[in-house]
Structure formats: C-alpha cells, structure tokens
Symmetry: C2
Subunit: 659 residues, 2 copies
Amino acid sequence: MSKIETMSVNAIRVLSADAIQKAKSGHPGLPLGCASAAYELWANHMNHNPADPNWANRDRFILSGGHGSMLLYSLLHLFGYGDLSKEDIMNFRQLGSLTPGHPEYGHTVGIEATTGPLGAGMAMAVGMAAAETHLAEVFNKEEYPVVDHYTFVLGGDGCMMEGISSEAFSLAGTLGLSKLIVLYDSNKISIEGSTDIAFTENVQKRMEAFGFQTITVEDGNDLEAIGRAIEEAKEDTEHPSFITIKTQIGFGCPAKQGKASAHGEPLGEENVLAMKENLGWPSMEPFYVPDEVYEHYAHLAEEKAETEAAWNVMFAAYCEEYPEMEALWNAYHDENAGEKAIEACADFWSKPEKADATRNISGKILNKIRTCMPNLIGGSADLAPSNKTNMSDMGDFSRENRGGRNLHFGVRELAMTAIGNGMMLHGGLRVFIATFFVFSDYTKPMARLSSLMGVPLTYVFTHDSIGVGEDGPTHEPIEQMAMLRAMPNFHVFRPCDETETECAWYSALTSKKTPTALVLTRQNLTPMEGSSREALKGGYVIDDCEGTPDLIFIASGSEVELAVNAKKLLADRKVRVVSMPCMDLFEEQSAEYKESVLPKSVRKRVAVEALSDFGWGRYVGLDGACVTMTGFGASGPANQLFEHFGFTADHVAEVARSL
Amino acid sequence: MSKIETMSVNAIRVLSADAIQKAKSGHPGLPLGCASAAYELWANHMNHNPADPNWANRDRFILSGGHGSMLLYSLLHLFGYGDLSKEDIMNFRQLGSLTPGHPEYGHTVGIEATTGPLGAGMAMAVGMAAAETHLAEVFNKEEYPVVDHYTFVLGGDGCMMEGISSEAFSLAGTLGLSKLIVLYDSNKISIEGSTDIAFTENVQKRMEAFGFQTITVEDGNDLEAIGRAIEEAKEDTEHPSFITIKTQIGFGCPAKQGKASAHGEPLGEENVLAMKENLGWPSMEPFYVPDEVYEHYAHLAEEKAETEAAWNVMFAAYCEEYPEMEALWNAYHDENAGEKAIEACADFWSKPEKADATRNISGKILNKIRTCMPNLIGGSADLAPSNKTNMSDMGDFSRENRGGRNLHFGVRELAMTAIGNGMMLHGGLRVFIATFFVFSDYTKPMARLSSLMGVPLTYVFTHDSIGVGEDGPTHEPIEQMAMLRAMPNFHVFRPCDETETECAWYSALTSKKTPTALVLTRQNLTPMEGSSREALKGGYVIDDCEGTPDLIFIASGSEVELAVNAKKLLADRKVRVVSMPCMDLFEEQSAEYKESVLPKSVRKRVAVEALSDFGWGRYVGLDGACVTMTGFGASGPANQLFEHFGFTADHVAEVARSL
C-alpha cells in the first residue's frame, strides 16, 4: 500500500469519524472497518464516472449496511460526485442536508438504492444483476457489449442474518448471476455483542450451498488481497461471488476497534483525536483532508471518465450500425414507455361483456400489453398460475434464457419485492411482481422501500378477500388493505370489474414515482354499467340518484355490485353508489371533485368492503356505518362466507336503513 | 412394511383424497407424498397420547406445509384424537367444520400451531424446541426428566425457500437445539413447475452450514429407512437434525404423482378411483377405511397412552419429592401468572416524578417484574441495548446456558416473532420480543399468526416516530401503527408516560388471547398530571374542561403532552384532551363509556399523532382534523423534525382554531 493509498483510505475514516462526531450521531464502525475494501473497489476495480453518475453502463455499488452511510458519502465526496461538498459532509444527519442518516436514492447523487433495513441492499443487488443480464441479452451485439457491468454490494453480519439475503442469494445462485459480487464485511460483532451469541453458522458454506463462488480475504486492510479477490470474482462467469473480508469494526480507533460500541455511536472527541494520531494523520483539525489526497482522487476520477468515454464511442457506433436497436434502447429508457405502450395496444381498453375474475382480466391485460411494451418483465412468488401473471410466449428468465420475461421468484415474497425494486432501480425495465394479497404482509418491508425511493414497481395481489373461500383465514386478507393504504406514496387499486382493472393497470404502468398494487379477485365479478375511466380518479359516482342523495354507499372491488344491489332494495330512498377502487388517488383529487362525489352535507354513508373497516372512518364519519369484516375469515365455500359475514344486499340495505 | 402398515399408510391417502374430492378443494400432493413418513413418525417414534392431547411432555408435531392439512386430519382421526369423526373428515373445508382448509390452533384438538404461510411452522418449531430446553433446565431433577420431548416439524420446498426458515434454522444451529428434528419433504415440485426454475441450491449443505446434522432417506415410502433416520436424529445430542425425505408429490395416484398439478387441486373422481385401485384398496366407496386399520391405530393409541401413564407416575413422584417444584410448575402453567406476578411485585405501580423515555421506563418495569414472574423470557433482534429489554442477572439463553432468560435472536425479526409464538404455544412460558417499531413491518406475517392463534405474545417496539431523529426515514415509523391497529385481535399500546407504560405492560402480561404491542419512545416524555390506570380502557379523558367541551384533542404517546400544551393556548375555548394509548381496547369498551369520552355531539375534534392519519377518521369524523404525518420522515435532530412536521403546540392550536 503506497503512502497516498494509505492516506486516501484514512481520509474516508477521518471524514466519517469527524462527521459522526459533529452530528453527535451515526455509525463509525462500518466506515472505519471497510474503508480499505471500499477504496480498493472504487479506485481500482469499479467502472464508474463521478462526472456522470447516471452513465447507463456503470458498475453498480450498493451499501447494504446503510447505517455505514458515511463510507458512501466520504467516497462520493472524495471522488467528486455531484456537488457533495465538504460542507455537506459537515452537515451529516442534519435536516435538509444531502447527507441523511441512511443513504437515500433520489436524494443524493450517486446513491443507487436507499438502504438501512438490513439485507435489503443484498436483494436489490440481485435484482440489478438480473436486470443487467436481461438487458445484455436484449441489447448486446457482436463487438458491442453495450450492457456489460458488475453489481457490487457490501454488507455485514446483520445483512446475512436477515432471511431476505438467503432468499435472494438462493435465487441468484440458481440463476447463475455471475456478475454479482458480494463483499461481506465479517467483523464478528453485532449490537448485542459477539456474533457468537446468535450467529455461529458457516456463512461461506451457506453461500456455496446457494451456488456462489466463495473467496476469503484474511486482512481487510490488505488492498492487494482485496483487489485479487475482486478480480477472481470477476473471472468466474458461472457463479455469483461472495468475498468474505475479515475486518475489524471501527478499525483505527484504538479504544473502540473490535468492540460493539464502535457500531452505532460517535467515537467521542478524544477517540477521534486518538484515531488520527494512531493513523498518523497530518492534522487534528476536523474534516482536514490533505490536498494530495484530493488530487489523487481527482486523478482516479479522470481515469474513470475515460472508461465512459470509450463506452460512448462504442455506443455511438452501435447506434449507427443498429439504428433499430437505438430506437429500442430509447424505448426501454423512456419514462413514458407505459403511456406509449398502452396507446400502441389497440385493444387495451375493452368493452366488457361477461363476468370474470379480475385476476383473469388482469392476466388478459398483461398479455395484451406484453408485445407493445417489450421492457415489461415480471413474475410471481411461485403462484403464477393462480395470480395469472404468465406472459405467453415470452419465455422464462433463467440461467439458460436471459431474454425470458417471466420471472420465477420461488416462494420468496420479501426478496421478490426487493429484487423487483432492484431491477427497476437499474433502469431500462418496468417490473411487476405477484403473490396472494394476504402475503403482501411478507412484501411490506420492501414495499415501503418502493414507496420511499419512489420506484413505481407494480404489485399484482390476487385472492383479495374472504372470496378466497376454502383456504381459510391464513389465506384471507383482512387488514392488508389498510396496511397498504396507510403507506405514503403507495397506490392500492381494488377494481370492481374489467374497466376498472384496465384503469388499475393503466395507472400502474404510467406511474412515475409511485408504486401501485392491484388487488384482484379469485371469483367472478359482473361488469358494472356505470364503471368508467373515472376510476383513474380513485373514487367516482358509479350509480347515482336524481338530485342530492340522502344516502351514499362507498365500496370497492367485489362489493361495488353488492352496494348497487342494496341500492335496488332501497327504492324509497335517494341513494348514490360511489366506487372507490383507489383511496390514495381519490385523496389526491381536488377538494371540489371530492365534494362532488361525497358532498359533506350527506351524512348517511355506508362503506362496504369485505376487509377491515380500518380507515373507512375518513369517509363514513361519525354518522355512517361500515359493512366490513370485524375479525378474521373462515374456511368454506366463498359464497357461504360472504353470506355468513353479512355481505348480502339485504344486510347492507338493513344497515343503511338503521342510520 | 407389513400389510397392516401398508393399509394404515394408504388409509391416510384415501381419506385425504376423498375429503379433498368431496370438498372440491384442497391439496392432495403433500398428504399422499408424505403419508408413509408421517405414519412412521406418529406410529413408532413420537410420544403422544391421543386420549390426552394436552399432555405437557408430549412430542410436538407441526405441519409446516399447512396446505397438506388432510395429512394431519387423517392422522388425528385415525389415532382417535378428540372427537374428530369421519363426518368431520367428510366436512373438510366446510364453514364451521373442525377441518378447515389449513390447520388452526385452538380450533381442532391436536393441532399444535396454525400453519399455511410457508416456513412459519419451521420457525415455530424452533421456538418450541427452545422452550423445551429452557423448561427442562428449570424443572428437571436427577432421575426426573419431567420435561424431555422432541419437536418434529414437516415441511417442503416452499418452507425452505422462505427466508424465515433460514433465519430460524441459523439460530437453532447456533443454540444446538438437538431435540428439534426437521423432516424435509423433498419432492422437487413447486406450483410453477420443477423446483429447478427457482431453487437449485444444495439444501442439505445449507443446513449443515447452519449447524444441523443432515440425513437423507432415498425412498419416502421406506418405513424402515424413515424410522432409522428418526432414531439417528434422536441420537445426536449436539445438533438439531434435518432429514431429507425424497418423496413423490401425489404418490399413489398414477395420473398425478410427480406433477405440479397434484399440489393444490382435487385429483378428480376418476383419479381417486385409479389411486385406490393402484394402491389395492379394498373398496371404492368414498371414505371407506377397513376395521382392521382402525383397530391397528387404536392399538397404537393404547401403547401411546402408556407412555403418558409412565410419565404421570414419574411426575407424581417428582411432586412428592420436590413440592416446591410442583408449586413452581403450577406457577409456570398458571394462565393468571401475569396478574399474580404484578400483584406480588410491590413497586410495579410507581409514582412517576421525572421525564424519561418510555423505552427506559419499559426496561425498568421489565426489571421490576422479572423476579416475580420467573416464566417471563424474551429478547430482541439484536437491539436489546436500544430496546431496553435486557433483564439484569437473568443470564443469556444459549447452548451453554439453557436457564438464561435473555434471548438473542440476531437480526431476524420475522423468525423472532414465529419463535416467540412457538415458545408460547409450547406452554409454560410468557414471552416478549423486541425491535425498532419501523421493523414491525418484518414481524407482520407472524404477528398475524399470533392474533389468529390467540397467542398473547408481547411485542416491545421502541423508537416509535420521527423522534428517532437522525437515522431518518428508513428508521422512522409512519404507517406501522395503522398496520397493527387494523389487525383483528391485536392490541397496540402507545403510552404517553410512565403510568401508561405500566398499564401497557399490565395489559400485555395479563392478556389471555390477544397479543399486545408496546410502542415506545426513544426521547424523554414528561409524566402527565392526568394519566391514570384508566389507560387500561384504551382511551380516557386525561385533561378536561368545565362542562361539555366544544373541542376535543385526541392523542397518543409523545403527542399527549403536545395536545395538553395546545389546549393551554386555547384558553378561550372549552377543550378536552383524550389520551388514546390503545384504540383497540377503547373499541372494546361499552357504547356508554365511549360516548362519555367522545360525546357524539362534539364535532370539533383534532387527532394528534406523529404517525399516519390513517384510521383516525373513526374519531375525528368529517368535521375534525388530524395533525399527523402526511409522508415519510426525514433525517435530523428529533426536536427539529417535530417542529418541521408541525408538531408544535402553536400549530396544533392553529389547526384547532381553523375548524
């Protein structure tokens, strides 16, 4: 390790320790322990261009241990990414700064994914690597490997303990994603103490079992060994690689290194000084970085820029030789791809005639749109035949067929969601995932990341209520609707028929920054006379009365027809039926529009939905009522369950009369 | 395999196929494929007593692949469990029957756990095995192994794909739970087709990496080999065991065996008949089981009863020799243990004097109660120092110290929850688990099982809002409160001070059938003058005005003080402040009580909670307002965040005035 390399590595430690000390908050353990590995990777093995952070063919780097954000901010600052100034570093963890506590995608230039929930980055990296192989298959031509990059991810013991990493890595091994390279920061320390208290497994052996090449670096500060390991990882073109790097948490700080206390709190002012002394740092002044270090990084950045420049030359030649591929490339990377595909898909908007399950309708729509939207890719957590998410003739994405557009995630809902996020973060693809609605529970932690990052991933959730029937309460969603509706920046659509299902897909595929869930029935639903594209407003009058109503039914999905039927039993009243397929979108409408649908003066309101009543109070108020589920479901034929739980026109009408 | 054994095994297949056929719904693949293994286990290796399904020292059996419920119902029926009659079998999957689609704990005698969500049973089994070792350490005396049983769990590829099984098995290996024996139904088939499409990992190698002994049975119908494997598993007293049993899904049905279509739909009438013919079944009549088969099972059941009889003799002698242990045993198994412990804990109810974080207060309470309640055991997903869940001097539960009462789950929230459920299902223990509130997302699928099963597991969720501060939006809960409030049979408590935190713990520890979550602050809260044990009603008037109020603030947790302060700014109004630590409990109160707290005539209502507004409409109605979070949080010092997001007395008062 040359002197300038040593100083360049230690600059990461110094900036991290100082920033955390100034913020009086943060996690120095990881940045100090992994500074060498990260430096070696970014300086000598990773293709990236600080001057163009969005270069399509850059290698991706995800910090799965997001708490170690100062590692990333230090690297971004030192390499001259965006405008991440020293002042930004000094504002670490301050309100409105570019350097929040955990890395946030879309907030700071150069951050590939929001991380913090452990293991999430591991699984998103699997998604990015999968996206790379698919796009490479689609776009690369002889002598023009326009998509050809690695995905690197760095995480620690916590990431490896979380089940999501097992799920994702098992799939990565199955798929042979050889350009995925995992750096495992093995420091044997967890928050509660030595990892021995909860984690004595043989991690490498597990990764071998998943089908990874495993490599070990004994000394996490040995740049040469780290470099060799990365190159060895690149050489394996059959298996993803897992590099165990034995590190010392908080390395460099004599009083803290190797201890749990280095993980998540500032080192303390004295310890920061002691660290600088120990590292032979030339100044005790906070945030001091010698000019030669900046110069060294600037030089590296220039070299990096040349890699992109070479790619740009190749890409220009590619476009010249293959103008149709250039057009396809632009189509894949067009943020309006959804609108254009739907426009190009002549029969997207249908004239529904017969009753059908919305899951079947969704399957039909998917198969209509699939040829108009070539960058649409997705699959299910082993429930495609039930979710109706298979795209005919589009092939199965696999080790042998990188061009396949049907993904098989296995029974791994959480990793599926993160992988879906990762594929979309990569760029170029529009992704959907699928499972039973009740198992949206498993997707929740990663669905939250879709929302937080603003990744418009599409969720196909079928079997949307007690309509599940015989499978019983473990498979019947009740509170899942409320769970998803409560989440910021997440649209949940529960369509009542074919037209509304089309609206749901339209909304999902054209959304720019908001993920969308489609909540679909197993059982048949009748096409509703009043249903229309007004559904895109989230809620609308689907069946009205003359003049001002004295009663309003508000329903979604399978219960819209029920409400319309209940209305027929109330011929002596002026009843309006509002279809509310997407509360979230309705909330985004103007106050005028909302008032026109739900006039404040009408207080007799009944919500009808075969799910939890939680959240309906917003619309029924203190004077209304809910015909909803009050507990878990039961096992039995679906029609009997609906009757048993009060979802009959008679009962709905009776509740309305009682107001 | 003797003739009667063959017939006894095939009786399981016949009953399963007939029941599923009659119901026109169900999953024959597993019961047919695993009939031999399950028969061998239940007949010849498992200590259980059909005449006393609740015998404390029975071996536990969990069907993790809960969709194969007919396997379990067939066994329970044939062994003569409870009153599971042939008619019950014939009513499979019918509304109100004892044989719902998936096995339901508390609904059908002999069901140890509700299963269906794949992998859950695997993790609950780990919990049961952990409970066994702990209770054995507490109770066993020389020559009196009163707690000495195995935990068997049967699951398939789906269970092994789910991350929860990796989480749980990694911990089981670390803890060396050698009396856990996993039977892996390896049939190479998933719903979407061959497991090769998503699951080519070396499962045995993964399990070895986790620290399991692995054994393989090449032929899933070879009773002798299965028996040998189970005995080999029992002999290993250092490691849990993992027996791979190579089976054929839908075995016995010529047209279906080995195919994905055998998994989840009836075989079809003709195929049922073809199966019976293929198996040489003596009658084609549906549900026919020869008398000699019933006699054989009855004989086995008699033998099984003797095992318990012998244990009863030993237990009686144990009680005589160790009367203090008998008393302790009764205390552990007393469903009122919580009430009694709190009564015995002289200083449980404190007189709060100074501001403190509710997480600290919770830690204090836990440490007060720990000596009065010896069967209280629990821990955190590697956040104990932050969750304040460590019980001093109670030791760490580990391979070396089975008596330890502090559990270290590692960073594995989902498995932690299932393991907590499993420990409580075992009987004898009261369990709490802990993590950050935002990570309740990860616990959700298993929290749902707590609720569905009626297991009063306690959840300690700290860092309950933007009060998290610098860690930022990935760590700041927003919608988690709504998610949990929306779940049936789940109590969520967000106390505003020490008194309410005591109520929350009281409610949690005395709950019989409802899990309880405590949602606690990182930051200090002031003791409120009006707070009282009325909090046990979920919501109550904490600060009132003279006469009927013209405005009501409703708040929880850290926002109660804020509401009280806002009230002070509205001296010209008659303002009531309602503290609502637990909406779920408030909803359970009488209509009169609820009206007394929130008179329907008072329409000016403002909910104040630094979380999602979702669900507050129930109380604020169409005329009220919410001071809540409308999006995700941010990274910064907590006090700045509260101000930034409008949680100031001025802003709350302003919103109130605007009504």
